[in-house]
Homo-oligomer: 268 residues x 4
């Protein structure tokens, strides 16, 4: 979703499914040393939306075990249950329904239907089918997809409230592999576009925001850093920096400072 | 200069010529609409060191005209006179001496000796000669150079207090063209390394810091943005984000999340 | 499809749908000045397979007009009718059937179902459906798709005889935007992988082959060059160069010549 | 040196120091298994100019040992003695004089004065000094340098007959790290520009030629391939492909095929 650069600096919030958010950094909860480190890193990130893999994390389905919601209280964070680990439509849909039940009718979910265990790339056909089922069932679906602009529009058309293209494979840390695709998705969207998966370091997050994305979701880049809490702070600042740079309107790149040094026809 | 990642977060200062600084963003004063915009942008940048082109800007040599030091008081900012516009040893040396006189014995200067008007790349042979003369004359020389690791070491060897390789041509906004060269310079240095010239947007600045640079100097990227003051804020955050990411120790990139997906032998 | 590097140099043919080919450069017929230039360029390219957009080019459906088969005789070239310009399953399937009729039962087709007129990216859902219909109807389907490794495997699974991921948008000349995706597709394939669309110059074609692709299909890169015939020759050599480099096994890249300069953890 | 694209295809020779050459691939002789493999690879490369490291290879200074000139007869190849392994002016100058003596007054040499053993980057100050001495002494100096456009012009100004910027560190195989610098050097040159060092595979060589370079010199990329002889053939074709693509005038890259999709302002 492209944004009017005239938006006043004083209110740069964005909206997903009618909820207003001020932080554009969304985080996951996996791969931390323990719940205390999870809590501290998420606190340092400034995130308002925290995604939880329902099939891997206890949000109440296993009574008597530590519950992630004890450190991430739903009155403070918007909990975003996700379907990580689902490889078909049925398991993804069932996982969302389980989450809704455990979270007292919570409708906002992040859908992912994976294609294989090697790449963790989405199965876009199954994703589209699951998205249609979930939307009809009343869910507000944020959807993980690849960086295909056609599929992004299709997922928007079936009623997803946000589209979340990958930057690179989940957990790879390779940064945005195809900036032109992300840019095309952003330019054509009517719903928020959030980069999901593949960010490795702070500059990657800044690039996503400079392309006009509404936000970035990450987990491994923070949790697998040597110092996750300091990296969470870095990511928070990088997201703000990239967003401000996008709104500030960067200088045009040129070969040399002189007026007559265009880059036309050069692309490398 | 590589940094111990164990440095406590609470004090991440760095030192140039015995002076301690907390901001790693250095800024210039050119190309702004007026002095008021200059003042506001520099304020938003959080910079402690401000570089001034002595041949283009009045720091007292033209009495009766507006003096940049009225908006950038030397008791608040470390003024860094530079030799922009000098194409030979003599004019660069003379410019530094003029600045020292106008600034009451101020020794800290940024030396640049340019090779031609098209590229604004440095003439490294003349730069080396001028650096030797200025160091012997008591100056504390921060030196603009290209991204050649051999020349960076040579400039350090003759006594420069900081080495400032370009990211890309001055005023181009192309970002860091050769990351491996900047990384090699950083790894081999015993003095601070600051990227000077070529940064275009926030992520470029973050990348420089993630490579281990001690700071970044920029002017056009802020002044030529549509909203320079907002871009100054973006750059401040990007520098901090990149620095924190460097200190936090980023995750290792891999092709896929699985443990057994190394990138060895791939380089693109 | 990965290839054994031990294949003897003397026979480096490859096979599509049981046909053996020696040239790995496939070309289109659009955008040339006239039929004579088309003929000369295709001759210089050394191509054995020539793709023809049935909806734009006369292969007999318009009697009395110039027929492309007069300059591209089917006894010399393998004609590959394609469905360029089709935006839905029905028109793509109908176009293939028309081509089969005009070409006396010819089964080999290149399927493309486009997603929109701006990007010319494929609609992968419609592409998959059309592929299934055509395979069941006896066609040998070479299929244009995006660079999604999951979709490439799916198209192979429904019986396509070759999978043809894009390098970049059709007609863009941007080269391979996401090398890792193309590499992943190649590594996982059991059928020939040919890059289709987006190549702009000779080195782009060489890169595709160095990644292990079986071939490259292009049209605009040759037809829109200033000298199409010379560019056709360049592409022929580039394809051979890239193929030989792949088979020869390139040196491992390293930061420096010294044995102890690995690139691990660097990815830019 | 930029070339008129109107040069007829039938004669695309180029000239160094008055000698006319048809092959634009120059090769070294190091790192091969034995002299026979050296001979076969150089034969497959089609090279007319072969560079020899005088300090490492016997061209007559060690009577009784195998002499490389036995497999590379000077009546067939233009022998280009080089100063590899020299780290100061004196040793480089002495090495050239030794070569001239051993080769009966041969004046054509490749000068390299290295800056350190880690990077093998040139010491450009010492290189410039040595070049001036050698030119005055009657040598025809082809000179290895970094990718600094200012230094390239300086070396041309002191009378070097060809300037040879590195693509990446010697023996690294990283390809052209900074295409804009190489392009700038080519655009401003009046003598032949040949990329020397850093090429890793065929597409790298093609890129150098597409930038307008007159030729490429390489050694490790061929000698350290799994199959050096096949890689030599790949490089020969890649150089020809890149050269023809340069002369053919590539299509302008654009975001999409549509006329109205310029890339202005995008640079990644």
């Amino acid at each position: 979703m492209t944004h009017s650069p005239e938006t006043p600096i004083t209110d740069d919030s964005f909206t997903i499914a009618g909820r207003v958010f001020h932080s554009r950094l969304l985080v996951g909860t996996g791969k931390y040393r323990d719940l205390e480190q999870t809590r501290q890193a998420i606190d340092a990130s400034g995130a308002e939306i925290v995604t939880i893999a329902v099939r891997r994390t206890n949000i109440g389905q296993t009574p008597g075990e530590p519950n992630i919601l004890d450190v991430l209280p739903p009155d403070r964070y918007t909990i975003l249950p996700n379907t990580a680990g689902c490889y078909d439509v049925d398991s993804a849909v069932r996982t969302c329904r389980l989450a809704r039940e455990l979270l007292d009718g919570h409708q906002l979910v992040k859908l992912e239907v994976l294609g294989d265990q090697q790449t963790l790339f989405p199965d876009v056909v199954a994703t589209l089918t699951a998205a249609e089922i979930l939307v009809k069932d009343g869910f507000e679906v944020m959807v993980y997809t690849n960086d295909d602009p056609i599929m992004a529009k299709r997922l928007e058309a079936v009623g997803c409230v946000a589209v979340m293209p990958l930057a690179a494979p989940i957990g790879s840390g390779l940064g945005i592999r195809n900036r032109l695709n992300i840019l095309t998705i952003v330019e054509n969207a009517q719903v928020p576009i959030l980069v999901d998966a593949g960010v490795g370091t702070a500059s990657d997050a800044a690039v996503a925001m400079e392309l006009g994305c509404d936000g970035v979701l990450m987990n491994t880049a923070i949790a697998a850093a040597r110092d996750p809490i300091l990296m969470a702070s870095a990511m928070r600042k990088a997201i703000e920096a990239g967003r401000e740079a996008f709104r500030a309107g960067r200088m045009a790149p040129k070969r040399f400072a002189s007026a007559s040094s265009p880059l036309d026809g050069l692309f490398f």
